[in-house]
Amino acid sequence: MEYIKKTIQLIMTTGTTVPCTYRNIRTGELFFGCRIPKTDVVFSGCTGSCYVIIPNTGVTYNIKFGLVQNSEDIGFFDAYMVDTPYNYIQLYNANPIIAAQNLQKFESILSGQITLAASGLVTGHSTGYITGTAITPISYNVTGQSSSRLTELKKYVIGVPFSQQYVSGGNFSTDGVNYPQSIGNKVVYFLGGIRYVDTLSGPTSGTTFLFFGQGFTNSNFINKPIYKDMNKENIISNPKIYDDVFIVRQEISAFDKNYRLEYISSLVDLTTYAGGKFFNIVNNT
């Protein structure tokens, strides 16, 4: 804990006090003035004003101080994923007397005095899905600049007009060039739900993209309550994986002898390589 010491001068001001008429007990002499009476002086009345220096209660002393927090990441949390249905015993009742009776019956069941069937308690069923964790989706656009991906839609054809050079029919759900929107020096195309616009010339030439963000409604996120697995305490990052270490197993297909690429000499060999599952050959002409 931090301990700060400050010295502040008490601000004084001139205040007023009331002068008094007082009598000296020994001499019987009367006095009038602002002096503070001694023990042998008796008040007999107060009028007028005297000035004294007193603490100024109208001021405010200001100090600045720092506050810090020791922050430490205690590691990963896990999502609580329960979606299995289960049965339960209904104890709640709007009538508190019946609810109390149900509770007593339940305690008798737990202690083995009666069976569930004999207790008369009703069982209910739950789907098990966690409730109340819905997140309201917020619609928003994400835009920016990128490199062109138009070549990914190009067909292997030559000597044809522009409208036949690329895969057509593009929209947010289908990859392809949107020819009706590709006017002038712009080419509009869609890849994976992202809209790209290639501006081929001019001061704004380049590629821009746009997509509708899904945020926390994206399937990448788990919108569930979290719990802490104590085994993962203080683990604050994914384990490092050395993915440049390969173990080459001697796997040879019983039906296909082409297990080295150097043996492939034709497209047919490629499509049948490793049982026909290794290369995905697409005819996009």
């Binding site: 301990y3 502040i8 001068q9 008490l10 004294v52 600045k64 810090v68 949390f77 289960y86 719990y227």
Partner: protein
């Protein structure tokens, strides 16, 4: 080079609503006074904001870590030592139950009544990071010294009855459900150590009173020494303006703004028989002669 630094001391941006303030006063070091008085933080603390050229439009723009403390002279108006204690706010509550999650019986926790907590703490995981301290359940009700747990998660739950293991016994466990009015708090540490795998750390007992404190900032003590004079005021006495009223025998001292700071009577005490001066006296006046105002005196030259 710092990559992935995660454990740091950061400037706190704690809300003033999450702060508790107290003060104590003693007139001098010889006096012991254990009486602590509360202060309302919203009246005495305020935030600082970023300089204009660093502000984000529409944002609160607070400058984290730096706070203002106001000491009004309505309270801080005596010569002496004021000790101001600024600490995270503490909320007492009672443990309703100690149990496990229905689908994860290895996850233990304490259960609190949501309605007994302030509304900002009732949301899921609002208590995450809070410190839990315990009151002994014996007749002494003393605070359990040196036992601290921290809240890892805090979620709304509902109780459900489940079969226990392979037996036909049933037990109440808890299941996350935002419709619930109970909070299931996982505390850390609550797992077994490697050397005693069958011994679990203490996390509390049902019916036990606990103290929930936020961990948004480190507590702070500020000692204010209210003094009558500083180097500046002493310098004023030595080299500042003074007026000696020769006729009335009054010596007046002024501060830098020519405000009267001290006034003295000057007189001699003589032998009443021989009329020989015995003493020259400089006596502090308790009542101030306002006619000795510096500007008025000078104006009369």
């Amino acid at each position: 080079m710092a990559i992935g630094t995660y454990g740091i001391v950061r400037p706190s941006d704690v809300s003033i609503d999450d702060i508790s303030m107290y003060y104590n006063f003693v007139p001098n070091r010889e006096t012991l006074n254990n009486v602590i008085y509360p202060l309302t933080p919203t009246e005495y603390l305020s935030y600082n904001t970023l300089p204009t050229n660093e502000q984000i439009a529409g944002s609160e723009n607070i400058l984290e870590g730096l706070y203002n403390l106001k000491l009004p002279a309505t309270i801080f108006n005596q010569i002496g030592i004021y000790t101001i204690y600024i600490k995270p706010k503490t909320t007492p509550t009672v443990i309703i139950d100690c149990s496990v999650l229905s689908s994860l019986p290895s996850v233990k926790g304490i259960v609190l009544d949501l309605t007994a907590l302030p509304s900002p703490l009732q949301a899921n995981n609002a208590l995450q990071g809070y410190r839990v301290e315990y009151i002994n359940q014996d007749s002494t009700q003393t605070k359990m010294r040196n036992v601290v747990r921290y809240v890892a998660t805090a979620n709304k739950v509902v109780p459900i009855s489940e079969n226990v293991g392979n037996t036909n016994q049933k037990a109440i466990r808890y299941r996350f459900d935002d419709a619930g009015t109970l909070l299931f708090l996982q505390l850390t540490p609550s797992s077994s150590s490697d050397v005693k795998p069958n011994v679990l750390p203490f996390i509390g007992n049902p019916g036990q009173t606990i103290l929930l404190s936020n961990t948004f900032f480190n507590p702070l003590v500020i000692e204010i020494d209210m003094v009558q004079n500083t180097v500046d005021t002493l310098a004023n006495i030595l080299v500042g303006n003074q007026v000696k009223d020769v006729q009335n025998g009054i010596l007046t001292y002024y501060d830098a703004n020519n405000v009267i700071t001290d006034q003295f009577n000057l007189f001699e005490i003589k032998d009443d028989v021989t009329n020989v001066p015995l003493y020259e006296v400089k006596q502090k006046r308790t009542n101030i002669d306002e006619t000795q105002n510096f500007n008025d005196v000078i104006a009369g030259i």
